[in-house]
């Protein structure tokens, strides 16, 4: 009788304690990643030593464990776009940065990606962009993939925009894009079509150099 009462009254607390301890265990066994040495990274990327130091300090500050998982990535990226929902685009970005597809972005992945984006040649940057758009990495950008990307970009704008975002705005934008890029009108954009077309477009070429002074 007393035992029954003890069980009933103490059970809720016990259950809580058990789940807490499980979570604690998970925390402890979380991945702790240490990046390669500074010299190696210097050799592999186009950043100077000082720049790598600054980058790593920022990276480690936000992710003390040394790797970014997708959730943290989405949170960080969403903070730059407070009005909209940046999580879908962050998901695509994450896949673009996570080159070995192991579900987490380590500092090396991060710095390699940045090296291409900030210090790479135009060809490399366009390559990277194509890789971003090609969601299933099969070498072709289909209209559906482009529509997903476009919707993700428009989601970042949020609801309060001028003029108002309509349902078909991303679709229309995709049509414009395909009209421009798809030279042989076969419904997909290959890497060569993409690069050719971008190199012929002044706006795009100029904007590729826009962020070179970052960092």
């Amino acid at each position: 009788m007393g035992a029954l009462m003890v069980i009933f009254s103490l059970q809720p607390k016990q259950r809580r304690k058990m789940t807490d301890s499980v979570e604690d265990e998970l925390e402890l066994s979380a991945v702790r990643h240490r990046p390669e040495g500074l010299e190696q990274l210097e050799a592999q990327t186009r950043f100077s030593r000082k720049e790598l130091q600054i980058l790593y300090r920022g990276f480690k500050n936000e992710c003390p464990s040394g790797v970014v998982n997708e959730e943290t990535f989405k949170e960080i990226y969403s903070q730059f776009f407070p009005q909209g929902d940046a999580s879908t685009y962050a998901h695509f970005l994450f896949n673009a940065f996570d080159t070995d597809h192991n579900g987490s972005v380590s500092f090396e992945d991060f710095v390699m990606g940045l090296s291409i984006l900030l210090r790479g040649t135009v060809q490399e940057k366009l390559n990277w962009a194509f890789n971003l758009y090609d969601i299933n990495k099969d070498g072709y950008i289909t209209k559906e993939e482009m529509l997903d990307i476009m919707k993700a970009i428009y989601d970042m704008m949020g609801k309060c925009t001028y003029p108002m975002l309509k349902e078909e705005t991303p679709r229309q934008h995709v049509e414009v894009f395909f009209q421009k890029m798809d030279k042989n009108k076969d419904g997909v954009v290959t890497i060569d079509e993409f690069i050719d077309c971008c190199q012929n477009d002044e706006n795009i070429m100029r904007s590729m150099h826009l962020f070179e002074s970052v960092l």
């Binding site: 009254s9 970042m156 970052v214």
Partner: protein, 633 residues
């Protein structure tokens, strides 16, 4: 911008390259990094203890003292450090906030000194992390209550303009507010005590007639007791009626527990008056007198502790109920066992299972009256098991109930739960507001940013410094990023309010396709001073009542013709209107160079009127070699 991720801004900007092939419009120019310094160490000398940190760390929160230019006031030239004459221990928490993005409250610190430090350094306490926020709020509440208690002793003045009814109610609820209330309080208490004592003494035998058996005093001095009873009931009735009159919500008062107790206490008397000498119901009438004992519950108005006890029992109802349930189970089990064990023995008192209930209860509560005892061996064995388990069953739930009571007691000591909820809502609202500040900061700085480009192109540095006083490089870069997104999607960020307005207004914006000279002039003045029906109104920024918000979306330029796709102008107050009018007239709208010069001329005046400069001159983006200046008013 959430500053903890300031270090990731370069990444976000680099990732913006992903939008470039998709964009249809040209991208805006990146903000110039005026002085590309290496990240430097700053020394903060707080009362002798030196803290060192990177300048970038402090720049993460530009709206605090350390993150803004306000810290320059504390710069010491000789020692090349920033000196603060504040508590170095508390400064640790402040600096850690910059480093980690989370503000913690050290438990050993006094709450008011902590609040002062936060106020000094310009940090709002609402962003204290969840780990420390409960503690902070509790301490703050305790402090506030202590201060309030001290204050309440001083403020006994009657509030003016209270009706007689309100005064009475206040007197009833808080007896120490006035002398009359106190007198009333003590008088009623006295009469409650008298009434209860009367009821008790009524039954004491005090007769001393030798040939009769003792009669209770009530029957001996019937008249005296009746008078006493009448007096008490009259007092209680008057009190009840007065409370009913004074209550702000009579219906709610009548439903409250205390008033029900009052009614039950006085009702038997009146029922007794009504029915006299009716033998059938006289038995029931006697029973009704039992209810007179409820008068003792009226004491709970006089005692806070009793009220808390009552409330505790009410809220411990589930635990008590469970205790009762388990006891019942035990009683039934043991009673059954004892009955069957004692069935065999002769002249056993255990005649039935319900009869055994009494034995089980007496044994389990370790009373042991001894009127029923088992005689068989089996009965004795089970009897001993029964008494042992009784001890356990009774003893175990008691601590649970006791802990419940102490928890509720402590809860009662703090503020109401409803007040805590309101504070939680207020806290979340404040955090949301400070986060939303980033959106509005962008919208706000868009106008400033456009001004900056005008200045940069014309090379006027004093004005640039004047206008660029509060936006840090980080903020500039963030805004540039958002601007790139706008250009990619060909849509703009707007305020919530504006969005609502444009949602309601189905009229599309006009393209003022006209020669830019007089017609736009007229159009602008018309807009400025009359309520625009065609032009869109803009939303006021939350921290200013009226500001203008103008941005050209896209512009094509051929020759001198300029088209504005959208112009947002708010009808301003008359004084502002006249200012714009003057500016209007000062403009020569046709040639580009003319516009530039007038732009410079009129620029300084608006910023001086309000901090949120109503700069009436946004500028278009530099576009290759064509400088397109769109002056809109």
């Amino acid at each position: 911008m959430a500053a903890g991720v300031a270090a990731w801004l370069p990444f976000a900007r680099a990732a913006a390259i992903g939008w470039m092939p998709v964009a249809t419009l040209p991208m805006p120019v990146a903000p110039a990094e005026k002085s590309k310094r290496q990240d430097e160490l700053i020394i903060l000398n707080v009362s002798g203890r030196r803290f060192q940190t990177w300048k970038n760390t402090l720049d993460r929160y530009p709206d605090t003292l350390l993150g803004s230019s306000e810290k320059e006031f504390f710069y010491n030239e000789e020692t090349k450090e920033y000196f603060f004459d504040r508590d170095p221990d508390l400064f640790r928490s402040v600096l850690n906030f910059y480093r980690t993005g989370k503000l913690h409250y050290p438990r050993y610190e006094c709450i008011s000194s902590y609040d002062e430090e936060l106020a000094f350094f310009g940090i709002i306490p609402e962003i204290i992390g969840d780990c420390c926020y409960e503690e902070y709020k509790d301490r703050k509440r305790e402090n506030a209550e202590r201060l309030m208690d001290d204050q309440e002793d001083n403020k006994d003045a009657k509030l003016p303009n209270m009706t007689f009814r309100e005064t009475m109610w206040r007197a009833f609820e808080n007896p120490h507010t006035s002398t009359m209330a106190l007198v009333f309080y003590y008088v009623t208490g006295f009469f409650i005590a008298i009434s209860v004592i009367t009821n008790v003494v009524e039954t004491v035998p005090c007769g001393s007639s030798p040939n009769q058996k003792d009669v209770p005093c009530g029957e001996r001095y019937t008249v005296a007791f009746f008078c006493m009873d009448t007096a008490c009931v009259m007092i209680f009735t008057v009190e009840y009626l007065m409370r009913l009159f004074a209550a702000p919500s009579r219906y709610r008062f009548m439903r409250s527990v205390m008033s029900i107790i009052d009614v039950v206490a006085i009702l038997p008397y009146y029922i007794g008056l009504v029915m006299t000498d009716n033998e059938d119901v006289s038995g029931a009438f006697v029973t009704l007198r039992v209810f007179r004992v409820f008068r003792i519950f009226k004491f709970s108005r006089h005692s806070q502790g009793l009220r808390i006890l009552g409330y505790t029992l009410k809220s411990c109802a589930s635990e008590l109920g469970f205790l009762l349930f388990s006891l019942t189970m035990a009683i039934i089990i043991f009673a059954t066992v004892m009955f069957y064990a004692e069935k065999g023995s002769t002249s056993s008192k255990f005649t039935s299972i319900p009869a055994s209930f009494w034995y089980t209860i007496v044994t389990m509560t370790t009373l042991g009256y001894g009127d029923m005892v088992p005689k068989t061996i089996a009965g004795k064995i089970f009897g001993s098991i029964c008494s042992l388990s009784g001890v356990l069953v009774i003893a175990l739930p008691v601590p649970v109930i006791v802990s419940n009571f102490s928890r509720i007691y402590h809860q009662n000591q703090r503020a109401d739960k409803r007040r805590a909820q309101k504070m939680q809502k207020a806290r979340l609202a404040r955090i949301r507001l400070s986060k939303k500040g980033s959106c509005t900061a962008y919208l706000h700085s868009k106008r400033n940013g456009l001004l900056n480009e005008v200045l940069e192109l014309t090379g006027s540095t004093e004005d640039e410094q004047h206008l660029n006083k509060s936006t840090s490089l980080l903020a500039n870069q963030h805004h540039h990023l958002l601007h790139c997104l706008e250009k990619t999607t060909n849509h703009e960020f707007v305020d919530e309010q504006y969005y609502q307005q444009s949602y309601l207004e189905t009229a599309l914006q006009n393209y003022p396709s006209r020669s830019p000279s007089l017609s736009s002039h007229e159009g602008m003045t018309g807009t400025c001073c009359t309520r625009p029906s065609k032009k869109h109104r803009h939303t006021p920024l939350p921290n200013s009542s009226t500001t203008t918000h103008m941005k050209p979306l896209a512009h094509s330029h051929q020759g001198g013709l300029q088209e504005l796709s959208t112009i947002h102008i708010q009808p301003l107050s008359s004084s502002r209107c006249s200012l714009n009018l003057c500016v209007d007239e000062a403009m020569a709208l046709n040639c580009q160079s003319g516009q530039i010069t007038t732009a410079i001329i009129t620029m300084p005046t608006p910023p001086l009127t309000t901090p949120e400069a109503d700069a009436p001159l946004p500028a278009g983006h530099a576009h290759q070699q064509n400088v397109v200046k769109v002056s809109a008013l």
